[in-house]
């Protein structure tokens, strides 16, 4: 079975490293690269055509919810999961789901939780 491409969007190098490792070691997914903010995510979604995007909310420049709003209009196929320290803020969680996010993963996250949610998509 072909591995699903996952684009990582986070301004933090260390979070990108953690997620890239989880993705590459999973056997089911392959990294489609790392964007550092929402604007880069929109560009890389066009150039890399990932099946899944794991995206932070709180980033400099274009934030994750703004990018999600744009992506949900531009690309109906891509599945976006928000990976954020703000996951526990009810309003942010709800806004992300209403804008089309498939799920929200709170930081700090466990490898098993990330893979379970990505495999359920």
């Amino acid at each position: 079975m072909e591995k699903k491409k996952v684009l990582i969007v986070d301004d933090s190098l260390s979070v990108a490293r953690q997620l890239e490792r989880i993705i590459s070691e999973s056997g089911d997914f392959v990294s489609a690269g790392h964007a550092k903010n929402g604007a880069e995510a929109i560009k890389m979604n066009h150039s890399e055509d990932p099946e899944i995007i794991c995206m932070d909310m709180n980033m400099p420049g274009m934030d994750g919810l703004t990018a999600l709003r744009t992506l949900s209009v531009m690309d109906k196929e891509v599945k976006v999961v928000m990976v954020t320290s703000l996951g526990g803020v009810g309003d942010k969680f709800t806004e992300a789901l209403k804008l089309g996010a498939k799920n929200v993963i709170s930081k700090p996250f466990e490898t098993d939780d990330v893979l379970r949610i990505l495999r359920e998509l």
Partner: protein
């Protein structure tokens, strides 16, 4: 492993679907009227009164209820009536999920027990500030949650020192900061020695050794730790009815003289004594 609200917990555990949660939230939105809407529904004021108060809010940093009283649109007694009605008719997410058919009354109770157990590591314990300040419960919770995250995320043995008020922040190898806005305004800082920065990096990157990592990656791990703590503080604050917005974290390399607490701010330092005499501090600069 993070601070969550009940609906999120249920979706994460596959107990309810994302769509069921959204239906329940829609039901809450229809049922749980905002203060102005409730006051209108009770016949205390008109939509035009609310618009007048919203316009006044642009130049006055006051909550709508207080402003309505100050503008003589609502009496204190009416405001209390409205707040009581809001509380008495509030539809909680668990009840909303029952109403949309996603849960039953019986399994709601069990899921609430499981949720409380999941969140028990984040129940606040007593931390006292050295002087009184507005929203002290939020700042005490912030310190408490920082300690809990040092244990759970960094797996670091430490002893918290006594919180003190300060005017100068002594220098350290590196600091990471995050600004809070919303119902409170403050800057949250973590300052670390070089050795502790490496310990944080090992924990965040989940690597045995970080000796070959470039300085920007090591700094980034401290910033990410601050991001995780502050995001969870915002989540906990929202459960306490206080809105905290956070900005992306920044790295600071202080000069040897340290940093002065800015005018109009109160500074608190929470020393964190890690092993080997290594120095770590949590600092809050709270706008007065």
């Amino acid at each position: 492993m993070a601070v969550k609200f009940f609906g999120q917990f249920l979706v994460e555990k596959n107990i309810v679907t994302r769509d069921a949660l959204l239906r329940a939230i829609d039901l809450q939105d229809q049922n749980n009227l905002k203060l102005g809407e409730m006051a209108v529904s009770m016949g205390y004021l008109t939509a035009a009164d609310i618009q007048r108060a919203h316009n006044a809010q642009m130049s006055k940093d006051m909550k709508l209820g207080d402003l309505l009283v100050e503008m003589n649109i609502l009496t204190i007694s009416q405001l209390n009536d409205v707040i009581t009605r809001q509380k008495n008719t509030h539809l909680y997410i668990g009840e909303a999920l029952i109403q949309v058919g996603a849960l039953t009354s019986d399994n709601l109770q069990q899921h609430l027990i499981d949720f409380r157990a999941d969140q028990s590591p984040y129940v606040s314990e007593g931390i006292e500030l050295p002087c009184s300040i507005a929203n002290s419960n939020i700042w005490e919770m912030t310190a408490d949650l920082t300690y809990k995250m040092i244990t759970r995320v960094l797996d670091l043995q430490f002893r918290p020192g006594k919180c003190e008020q300060l005017t100068i922040i002594n220098t350290n190898f590196m600091m990471a900061a995050m600004d809070f806005s919303g119902d409170v305004e403050a800057r949250y800082l973590i300052s670390v020695s070089e050795l502790l920065q490496k310990k944080i990096a090992r924990a965040i990157l989940r690597e045995e050794s970080v000796e070959c990592e470039p300085p920007e990656v090591l700094e980034d791990t401290v910033m990410e730790f601050v991001n995780v703590v502050c995001g969870n503080v915002a989540a906990k604050a929202s459960q306490m009815g206080v809105i905290i917005n956070i900005n992306p974290p920044v790295a600071i390399r202080p000069s040897v003289e340290g940093l002065k607490v800015p005018a109009g701010h109160t500074g608190f330092i929470f020393p964190i004594h890690a092993g080997d005499g290594e120095k770590m501090q949590m600092i809050l600069l709270i706008k007065n």
